[in-house]
Symmetry: D2
Subunit: 337 residues, 4 copies
C-alpha cells in the first residue's frame, strides 16, 4: 500500500497561497517601499489600520519582527513588561523581548482561566513602585487569541478591564494579535472592538488567512513613523513588497472564512474526545490535548500521517484553510486505527 | 523629648567599616590593578578562591556587577536561564540579566519550600529541547541564602541535587552567594561545601561582613580571565583597589561572627511573634513579616524609629554587625508601644 | 505641456519584477520555510551557494539583515571590525554593526584608490594587539563593488591579497557583495572568484537582478545553521517564501544582462562629461558626480525629471534593467536643457 | 650590581594615595550610598559640580563607567556620535560606545592640529540629515586634554566654537575630561571655563590627582538622576563609598600641584630631544615620542628601568605626582646609557 501524504495540523502558518492570491501577487502594482512607498503596501496598511481602528499601520515580514519592533519602542533598560504565562513573546520569539527590546518579563498567571489574565493582577503589578534602583513596570502585553492556552479568546469587556487596569497604573499596552482575526470571528465582533485602548497591535496575514508572508503592526502615526525606522534597522525594509501586500489584501477578504476553521477544530476536538483523548473544546482553531508523553504521542501521530506540534506541555492541533472537514475525518480515522 | 536615632534594619549593606578595617585600608599596599595588579587585591582574590574552592577569583565593585559579568559570560541571545521565584537577579538588578546578558528568564517555583527549588523542576526545564527556532535553556542561577524567601539556606545535599540535575541537563550553574557566608555559618559547613559543582559564584563583602565596598566572583581560571575583561568593559576596573581589598580581607576574618546576627534575627523574630506579628523563624539574618499593608507598616515603623524595607510583598528586617541585641530590644519596645 | 514621468536613477533597488518573474512567483512551489523548509527557497539557496562557491546559503529579506546576521555571528563585545571608508555597513545600515552586532568600527582609508583598501593597512590593523583591556580586531568587512566609491570593483588578485592579509592577522572576513554580480560581470570572472577565502558573503537579488525582495548570505554549513537561528530572532523567518525565491531564481538567470547596465552607466558618464560635469568613468553601474551643492543639484535634477540620490558628498546615478539607453538619452537631454 | 626599581611613566593612574589621603579615608564619615546617600560622597559630588559649573554630579568607580553612562543616556540605536581621531571613547573603552550605548562612531580628523577638531567639520557632520532610514548624528564627544594627541589642550575659545557648532546642528555635547584638571592648570583658567555649553562631563580623580579609585560625571539635575539609575544597572552603585570620596576630596585640593607635572613633562621632553629623540613639546603631562619600532623601544626602555606605554603608534611617557624631577633625571640618564 502506498503511504498517504500526512495531514498537516502543526500550524496555520503552513497555509499556502491559492490561485486567486497568486494572481493578485502577479498583478500587483509595486514601488520601492524603502524609498517612496509601494502603493499596494500602502493600500494594505491603510486597510489594516481601518480594520483595527488605529491611525496608522506598517507591514512587517513576520509577526516576530512586529512584536519585536513594538517592544523595542515601548521598553527601555530597567523596564519590566507583563505577559501571561506561556505568552508567545516569552516562549516563542527567541528572547527578543529581553535581549533586543531590553525588557525583564514578569509573568502573570492565568488567574481568570486558561490564557486569561486578571485585571487586579495587572493593577497590582502596575502599582509596584520602588526607589530609583528598582525595575519599573511599564508595559502590558496581551495576546488574543492566546496560542498556548488553546486559542482562547479575550472578549471585549474583559479586554477593556485589562487595558483600563494597565492605563490606570501608567502602563502602555501592546496586543499580540497574531490570531486576532480568529478572536473577532469567534465572538462576532469587529477586530477593532478587540484593540480598544491599546497602544500597539500586531496581526498576522500568513496564518489562518493564508498569505505566504507578512504581518502588520498598527498604532499611532508617531509610533508607525518610528516603527518604520526600526523595521529598516532590523532588516525588514523590503523593496517591491507590493507582491506580498497583494496577497495580504486577498487574505483580508477571507477573515469571515475563519469560522469554518473554528467549526473544524470543534469537530476534531469532539472526535478526539470520543476516541478517549483528554481535550478541551476549542473556542477558535487550536486544539490542545493532554497526553502522558508528548514526544512519543507526536511520533505515533506522525507515523499515522497526522502532523501536530508540542505546545506548553501538550499536543497542539491547528485547523486552517488547507485542511477540510474530510481531512479531519481522515485524521480521526488514522488516529483511531 | 529628643527624637532617638532610628535603628537601621533595612539591610546588612548599611554596615560601616570599623576602626580595624579603616586602619587596614589606610595601611594597604596598593598597585595599579588594571595595569599590573594590586597586591592586596591579589591577596583578597586568592583568599576568596580558597574559601570557595575555585581556581580563581576577581574583585568587583558590587554584587550586581558580579552577577552581571557571570551572566554575560554564560548567556547568549536566544538562551533561557532558570531562577527561583523572587530571585535577586530577576527582581533587584535592574534587568541586566535580560538587556545586558541577553537571557530570557524562566522562573521556577518554590516547590520544595520557601526559596527552595526542586531538582525535578530543574531537570524538566533543562530537558525542554526544541527545533532551531526555540529558546535554549543553558543556565541555572541559584541563590544561597535566598534573600526574598527570608534568608533561607540551601543545604549541601539539596544543592548537590540541584547542581546534578542541571549538569545532567547540560546546564551551567551560577550561584548568587551574596550571603553565602551566612548559609555556611548557619549550617556549620565551609563555604566551599556550598559551591560544589557550580561554574561560577558571586559573594559579597559589603553586607554582613562589613566591608564598605566590594564583591568577588569566582570560577575557573579561564572564566576569571574573561571576567577581568568584562569588568573593564562595564567600568569596574579600578586602579589602587587595594584600599578596598584590605577592608575585604578584614571582612573575611569575621565570617564566624555572623552567627551572632543569626541569633539576633531569631531573637527579633520571636519578639515580633510575641507582639502578635506573623513571622517565620529565620535560618539566618533576615526576618520577613507578613502584614496587611506593607507601605503603611513601613511608615509606622519609621515613625517609631525602626527602619525596614519591603521585600516580595512582605516587610523585611535584616540584622547585621552594626545592631546589637540591645538595639533589638529597643526595636521591640518601640514597636510594642 | 504635460509633465513627463521622471526617470529613476536613484538606485537599482527600484527595479520591478517583470512578467516572467511574476509568472514564476505565481507558479512557485512553496512550503513552510520555518518548519520544514520551502522547496523553492532550498533551490535558490543551493544555486547561490554554487555560484558563490560556499558550502551553504540562506535567503534573507534584505541585504541589511544579511550583513547584520553575519556581523552578529562574527563579532562580540570588545571586538573591532575593519571597513573601508564610506562602507555600507558603516553609513547605510542604521548602526546595526555597532548596537546589534556589538562591534566598534575602525575605518580604513582608500589607500589604493577609490573604494580600495591596502593589504598592508589591513595587516597593520590586524597586528595591533594589546593587553586584556584592549579592543580586539577580529573581522575585516569588504564591499565589492564598493557602492559609495562609485561601484568600483576589487579584482580577484587584489581581493586575495586583502583576504590573506586578514587571515595572516587572525581576522575573519565578511564580504558585503550586494553588487557582487556586477563586479563579476565587469571583470568577466565567475562570482566565486571574488569570494575566495572569505568566511561569509551577502548578495542581493533585488538590486540589478530585478527581484522584488530578497538577499542571500552564504558560508559554511555551521555558519548557515547559526544564521538560520539568528534570522528567526530578527524576524526574517518567513513562511511560504518560495514565492520570493522563485523571483530570485529568475533573477539569477539575468546576471549576464548586467553588462548592459554597465555600458549604460559609461554612456551616461560620458554624456555628463560632455555636458561639463565632473564625473569619473564607472566600472559598473554607478556614476558619481562631484557638484558644488549636492542638495540643490538633486532638486534641479528632480525638477528636470531625473531622479538621483546623494552619496558620500556626491550625486549618485545608478543604471539598472528598468532604464534603457533611450531613457538615458532623455536624461542627458533633460539635463542639457 | 643590584637592579634599581623601574621608574613608572606608563600612566598617571599609577599614582598611589599618600598618608594624608589615607588618613582622610580612614576618618571618612560614611553612609549607604545606594539607600540614602553617603555624606562624604555628597560633599565630593557637590564640590565637583561647583568646580565644573554644573547643576549636579555623581561619583562613579571609573572614567570608563562615567563615559559609558553619559553615552548610554545620550545615544539610542541609529544614532551617530562624533569623536576625534584616537579619542579614548573610540580606542580605549572596549567598544562600550557601540555595544552598550548603541552609537555608531564617526571619526573627525585633527583638522586644527594634533587632537584638535575643526568647528566647520562639526558643523558639516551635524548638518548631514537624511531620510528616515539614515543614521542620525546626535552627539559630539570632546576630550580635553586629548590623551592620544599628547595631552593637548583645547582652550576655552576653541571649545566654545566647537560647542556652538554642535549646538547649532542640534547635537548634544559630552566632554571626556579625564584630565580636564590638567587643561585648566595649563591654561590658567578655572575648570568650569572648559565645560561651557556641554551637556555632560566626566572627570577623573585617580589620575594626576592621586586618588586610588574614582571619577565623577556632571550635568543637569535630570541627567544625574538618570545617571544614578544607570550606575546601579552597570554595577557601580557602591555602599559606603565615602571612604573613596574622602580620597577624592583630598585629590581636589591638589589641582594646583599639576603644574609641577607639566613642568616635569617639558623637562623630560627637552631631555629626550637632546638625546636625539623625536618629541613634541608637551602642553601638559604627556610626552609622545615617535620611534621606528614602538614595541622594541618599549622593551629596551623597560630593560633600562623606564616604563612607558604604546599610544596611537608612538611611545607615551606620563608624568605624575609620584615621579620627581630627580626621577626624570634618572630616566634621562638611563636612556642615555
Ligand atoms: Ca501561510
Ligand atoms: Ca506604575
Ligand atoms: Ca557595608
Ligand atoms: Ca527590485
Ligand atoms: Ca591613582
Ligand atoms: Ca542635525
Amino acid at each position: 500500500m502506498t503511504k498517504l501524504p500526512p495531514i498537516d495540523l502543526r500550524s496555520d502558518t503552513v497555509t499556502r497561497p491559492d490561485k486567486t492570491m497568486r494572481n493578485a501577487m502577479a498583478d500587483a502594482e509595486v514601488g520601492d517601499d524603502v524609498l517612496d512607498g509601494d502603493p499596494t503596501m500602502r493600500a494594505l496598511e491603510e486597510r489594516v489600520a481601518g480594520l483595527l481602528g488605529t491611525a496608522a499601520a506598517l507591514w512587517v515580514p513576520t509577526g516576530c519582527m512586529g512584536n519585536a519592533i513594538a517592544l523595542m519602542l515601548h521598553l527601555r533598560r530597567g523596564d519590566v513588561f507583563l505577559a501571561a504565562e506561556h505568552a508567545h513573546v516569552l516562549h516563542n520569539e527567541l528572547g527578543t523581548a529581553a535581549w533586543l527590546a531590553g525588557g525583564m518579563p514578569r509573568t502573570l498567571p492565568w488567574t481568570d482561566g486558561a490564557g486569561r489574565l486578571s485585571p487586579s493582577d495587572v493593577a497590582e503589578a502596575a502599582a509596584a513602585e520602588g526607589p530609583y534602583y528598582s525595575l519599573r513596570t511599564t508595559l502590558l502585553c496581551l495576546e488574543n487569541t492566546h496560542n498556548a492556552a488553546g486559542g482562547v479568546v479575550t472578549p471585549p469587556d474583559e479586554h477593556a478591564l485589562l487595558v483600563s487596569a494597565a492605563s490606570a497604573g501608567g502602563l502602555r499596552v501592546h496586543l499580540d494579535g497574531a490570531r486576532l482575526w480568529h478572536a473577532a470571528i469567534a465572538m462576532e465582533v469587529p477586530p477593532a472592538a478587540l484593540t480598544v485602548g491599546v497602544d500597539t497591535v500586531q496581526v498576522c496575514l500568513s496564518k489562518g488567512l493564508g498569505a505566504p508572508v507578512g504581518s502588520v503592526i498598527a498604532g499611532s502615526v508617531e509610533f508607525i513613523a518610528e516603527a518604520r525606522r526600526v523595521r529598516k534597522m532590523l532588516g525588514g525594509g523590503v523593496r517591491q513588497g507590493g507582491v506580498l501586500a497583494a496577497a495580504g489584501l486577498v487574505a483580508l477578504d477571507r477573515i469571515d472564512q475563519l469560522g469554518k476553521d473554528h467549526a473544524n477544530a470543534t469537530f476534531l476536538a469532539k472526535g478526539l474526545v470520543e476516541l478517549g483523548w483528554e481535550v478541551d473544546l476549542p473556542q477558535t482553531n487550536i486544539v490542545l490535548a493532554s497526553v502522558a508523553d508528548v514526544r512519543s504521542t507526536l511520533e505515533r501521530l506522525a507515523s499515522q500521517g497526522v502532523l501536530a506540534t508540542p505546545m506548553a506541555g501538550r499536543v497542539r492541533f491547528v485547523t486552517h484553510r488547507d485542511v477540510t472537514r474530510s481531512d479531519l475525518r481522515t485524521v480521526l480515522r488514522r488516529i483511531a486505527r
